[in-house]
């Protein structure tokens, strides 16, 4: 994997998307020096933890800061009259 900072975030994003344990397209990845910032929405706390683990495997020696948000799937509020 290229270590060039210009391309590294996109390489990480692509690898996370293609990793069967993650397969999440919505992630935002930013790399600043030896720190990886992850953002975006995920569907579960377990997936959030998995993303941290996989990112750490991809970039050992980097600090992984996972700021992804677990999206709630609670019952909706009011219905919307459409027609």
């Amino acid at each position: 994997m290229s270590e060039r900072p210009d391309y590294l975030p996109e390489h990480i994003r692509e690898k996370l998307f293609h990793d069967p344990r993650v397969a999440e397209q919505d992630l935002k990845v930013d790399v600043k020096e030896r720190r990886v910032l992850l953002g975006g929405n995920v569907s579960s706390l377990q997936l959030r933890h998995t993303i941290t683990e996989v990112a750490q495997e991809l970039l050992p020696g980097y600090e992984i800061v996972n700021e992804t948000t677990v999206v709630p799937a609670t019952e909706p509020g009011d219905e919307e009259p459409v027609i």
Partner: protein, 251 residues
């Protein structure tokens, strides 16, 4: 009045068990029908869809689904479809179904749809074979959608169920650069030509919930990361007075 629950982009995978089920508990009291707008799995793996199928099985409302791009990733979309059908979900691809809900005939035509972009900036099936295949796929599915909608003869309400977006309006919030991968105006044209009362789609997690086709047909983006609930509920007034007896039959 028909109450339609809809959600897309559930992206079920390892660890998803139980995510949706609590949110579905009161769905039968709140909706007459559940629409699933594709991307039901992360990678289109049959094991992933089985988890969702088990959570949907036994819901006492008709469930109609289309698949999304994620559901095709492993090349096992036929197995994904069968798993859903095994749980009583009707899966549409270029097809329609008519449901009799409390005496109101609700027709639903569904397709995954595809990308290409929007008016003034749509790709053309010109040049390399890859480009022809890309745009050709969208054209084919849009044609099928129009035919499926047109064939919903004698229905009181007509709904188009898609994964990709037919309009730009429900993409607002997404990066402009990826619009061509999020939908195509060809599907809006199909809907406007055939006529519909509502269009439901997913795919655009960072988009906008509400929009309209150029002919004014309401469009709702129900991508779960956008609506941030288990589903949204939309009410539509059927053109016939509701009758009490028949409920939920699929014809």
């Amino acid at each position: 009045m028909i109450r339609i629950a809809a959600v897309g982009d559930l992206h079920y995978g390892a660890g998803s068990q139980g995510i949706l089920k609590p949110g579905l508990e009161h769905l039968p009291d709140r909706a007459d029908l559940l629409l699933l707008a594709g991307d039901l799995t992360r990678r289109g793996n049959p094991e992933e869809i089985q988890v969702l199928a088990d959570e949907l099985r036994g819901l006492p409302v008709p469930i109609v689904a289309v698949l999304g791009n994620h559901d095709y990733h492993c090349g096992r979309e036929a197995e994904v479809r069968r798993a859903l059908e095994g749980a009583g979900v009707r899966v549409l691809e270029g097809e329609g179904v008519t449901l009799n809900i409390n005496g109101v005939r609700v027709g639903i035509a569904g397709t995954k749809g595809f990308g290409g972009g929007f008016r003034g900036a749509h790709g053309s099936d010109f040049g390399e074979p890859e480009m022809k295949a890309f745009v050709g796929h969208t054209k084919m599915l849009s044609d099928r959608l129009e035919r499926a909608l047109t064939r919903l003869d004698g229905v009181d309400l007509r709904i188009a169920l898609l994964h990709y977006s037919p309009i730009e309006g429900t993409l607002e919030g997404e990066r402009l650069e990826i619009y061509p991968f999020l939908g195509s105006y060809l599907m809006a044209e199909a809907v406007d030509s055939a006529g519909a009362d509502l269009v439901v789609h997913g795919h655009a997690h960072h988009g906008t919930e509400k929009g309209r086709t150029p002919a004014g047909i309401p469009v709702r983006n129900v991508a779960q990361p956008l609506i941030r609930h288990a589903y949204s509920v939309y009410t539509l007034n059927g053109r016939r007075e509701a009758q009490p007896a028949a409920a939920g039959g699929i014809s």
